[in-house]
Symmetry: C2
Subunit: 363 residues, 2 copies
C-alpha cells in the first residue's frame, strides 16, 4: 500500500467510526420523537398536533448559530431539516398541498420547508391549495404570496381574506430568469413568450434589449421554452434547466429587472403556532375612510417600538370600506407588547382579521 | 406547567443535547472529507476522483445492517445518503445529466443515487445524456435501461454499444399507473392516451377493461393527463399526482399488468469503480453463429459458480454477427474467479465489451 492509500484508509476508518456514532444518536433522537408522540396521544387523544413550526425553527436556528464546522450553515441546517423530517414521519406523515406541477418553485419550497419525508400533494390552482387544507385532505398548504418585483399574488390574498386558515410559516426562494431561443442573435427574435409573472419580472429588460419584440403570456415558462424550440423567431423566458431540456441557446442570463428577485411563500394550516423566539404576525385590516385613520392605526405599533416589515394596500371588493391593508409586524401575537397593540388596532379598524403568528424563516 | 408539558420539555431538552452531539460529529466527518480531498490533490493532481460509488455503497450497506433504531432502514440510509452528499459537495460538486424534465422518474433516481447536494442537469434525449458525460459537461449520466414489464430501452443499449463510458451504478424505481378521466364511467371512454412505455405496461389491463377503446401514444404521461382534462371521452394513464394536478377522477389504480413494475437505471461515467464487496459486472458480447456457441460462453460462468442475473439478446445492427447479448453477472471484474471467466469469454466471443463493474444497489 502506498502512503497515500494508507492515509486514505486511516481517514475512512475514522469516518466509519464517526458514522457509527452519528447513527446511534439519530436512533436515540427517533426514540425521543416516538416518546413525544406517545405523550401527545396518551388517554386516546386524537387531535394531537405533531408538526410544530416554532420548535423546528428553534432547532434550525440553534444549528446555524453553533455551526463552526467546515460545512456551510445552510448545508448543516438542511441535514437537520432532513433528520427532523424523518423523525416527524415516524410520529405522523405530514401532507402539504401546493401549486403543481412537480419540479416547480412551489414544490422546491415545500421540500425546503418540510424536508423530503413530507407527502407533497400537487393541485392545479391556489384556491385548490386552500380547499385541500380546509377539507382535511392535506395538513398544510403552501402558496406564493408575493414576488419581490411583481408584487402580491391576488388569488392568495383573496383566499386569505375568505378562509379561516392560519399562516404558520414563511419560505423565500430566489428566482433567476434566462432569455433563450433557437436563434443566436437578438435581431432574429420577433416575440418573447413566458408566464405572465416572468414577463412582469423582466419587463424593463425586454424593453431595453428587444425594443421591437412582441410579448405573449403563456401558461408556464416550460411551455414557453417548448414553443421556442419549434419556432426560431420566438425567445422564451425560463430557467437555465429549461434551456438545457429544450436544447435552446441561452442569449442572456439574470434578465430579471431586480436582481434580488425572490418569491415569498406562506404555509397555511388549521393550527395556531406558538412563539419561537423570533416571529412575525400577519393581519388584515380595513379602516374607515377619514383623514388620518391609517396613521392612527399604525401608531399603535410604532409607539410600542413594534417593527412593521410590510404593509400592502388593495382596493376592497366590499362596499363598506375602501381599502384593505395586509400588515406584517415583528413579534408573536402572545407577546404582551404586541397583544396590547393588536387589541388597540382591532378597536380602531372597521375590519380586523389576524392571519397568524409564525417563525421568521430560519432557512 | 402540567405533567404533560413537563414531560415534553424534558424530552425536547434531551433532543437538543442529542442534536448538539450529532452536529459535532457531522462537522468532524466533513473535516475528514476535506482531508481526503487534500490527500487526493496533493502534488497538484488535477484528475483526482472524488465520488467513489463502491465506498458509498459500503457505507450505506453498513448503515442498514447495523440499524436497530425505530427508524426504518430506508430512512436511516437516506439520511446518510444526504450526509455523504453534503460532504462530497465540499470536496467537489458532482453534476449528473439525466433525461428531463425535472420531476420525472429519472430525476427522482438521480436524487436517490446521489443525494440532494448533487447538481442535476436535465437534457432532452438519452443520447444527450451520454454526450454530456463524454464532453465533460457532467461527471455522470443516469439513463433508464430496462423496465420490468416493457423490457429494454433501445436507445440506452445503442449508446452503451457505441460509447466508451463505463457503468458505475444501478438504481431501481417502482412505478405505478392510474387510469384517469373527466368522466366517471368506463363506458364514456373512447380513447386511452399515454406515453408509449406506459401504454405497453398496461396493455393487457386496457384490453380487458376497455375493450372498445382506441389507444394513442403521446409525448409524456403529463401531456396525456392534460389532454384528458380538455376532453371527457379521453382517459389518460399517469401517476396519482398527475390526476390531482389536472383535477381528473381516478377510475382505477395500479393498472400496470405486472404489479412488480419497476424501472432500472444505470449510472454511466468515465471512471472504473473499485470492488465494494457486493458487485455486478456487465458486458456485451456477440458470438459466431454456430450451434452451441452461446452455451459454450455461458459455461465459462456456470462452471465457476458465477451467478448470471440477466441476459438479453438483440439482433445486431452489424453484418458480421447475428446476435448481441447484454449479460450481467454477480462479482467484480477484479475478483480472481470472475477475471478468469471474463478472459475465457473474451477468447470465445466475436465481439467483447466490458461495460463495467459496480455495486449492487444498497438503496
Amino acid at each position: 500500500m502506498t502512503t497515500e492509500q494508507q492515509q486514505l484508509t486511516d481517514i475512512r476508518n475514522q469516518i466509519d467510526e464517526i458514522d457509527r456514532q452519528i447513527q446511534v444518536l439519530i436512533g436515540e433522537r427517533a426514540k425521543c420523537a416516538q416518546k413525544v408522540a406517545d405523550i401527545k396521544t396518551q388517554g386516546g387523544k386524537v387531535d394531537a398536533v405533531f408538526y410544530r413550526p416554532e420548535r423546528e425553527a428553534q432547532v434550525l436556528r440553534a444549528v446555524k448559530e453553533r455551526n463552526d464546522s467546515v460545512l456551510p450553515d445552510e448545508s448543516m441546517a438542511k441535514l437537520f431539516r432532513e433528520i427532523m423530517s424523518a423523525c416527524l414521519a415516524l410520529e405522523q406523515p405530514v401532507t402539504v398541498a401546493y401549486l403543481g406541477p412537480e419540479g416547480s418553485y412551489s414544490h422546491a419550497s415545500v421540500l425546503k420547508q418540510f424536508g423530503s419525508s413530507v407527502v407533497a400533494h400537487p393541485v392545479s390552482t391556489i384556491e385548490a391549495v386552500f380547499e385541500a387544507v380546509e377539507k382535511g385532505e392535506a395538513n398544510y398548504g403552501l402558496v406564493p404570496v408575493e414576488n419581490s418585483s411583481e408584487g402580491v399574488v391576488k388569488s392568495s390574498q383573496n383566499e386569505l381574506m375568505r378562509t379561516r386558515l392560519k399562516v404558520s410559516g414563511e419560505v423565500e426562494m430566489e428566482i433567476h430568469h434566462c432569455l433563450m431561443s433557437q436563434s443566436l442573435e437578438h435581431a432574429q427574435i420577433k416575440k418573447v413568450v413566458a408566464h405572465q409573472q416572468a414577463l412582469g419580472q423582466c419587463e424593463q429588460w425586454i424593453k431595453n434589449h428587444l425594443p421591437g419584440a412582441e410579448v405573449e403570456a403563456v401558461e408556464s415558462n416550460a411551455l414557453a421554452a417548448k414553443m421556442a424550440q419549434a419556432d426560431a423567431t420566438l425567445a422564451a423566458i425560463a430557467s437555465e434547466e429549461a434551456a438545457q431540456l429544450y436544447q435552446l441557446n441561452i442569449l442572456d442570463r439574470h434578465i430579471e429587472d431586480y436582481h434580488d428577485n425572490n418569491t415569498k411563500f406562506w404555509v397555511v394550516g388549521k393550527d395556531i403556532t406558538q412563539p419561537s423566539g423570533l416571529d412575525k404576525t400577519s393581519l388584515i385590516i380595513s379602516i374607515h375612510n377619514k383623514a388620518g385613520a391609517l396613521l392612527d392605526v399604525l401608531e399603535c405599533f410604532s409607539k410600542r417600538n413594534i417593527n412593521m416589515t410590510r404593509i400592502i394596500s388593495r382596493p376592497s371588493t366590499e362596499k363598506t370600506w375602501d381599502y384593505v391593508f395586509f400588515i406584517d409586524v415583528i413579534g408573536h401575537k402572545d407577546d404582551a407588547n404586541l397583544k396590547e397593540a393588536l387589541d388597540e388596532v382591532e378597536t380602531k379598524s372597521a375590519f380586523y382579521k389576524l392571519l397568524g403568528s409564525f417563525p421568521v424563516s430560519p432557512l
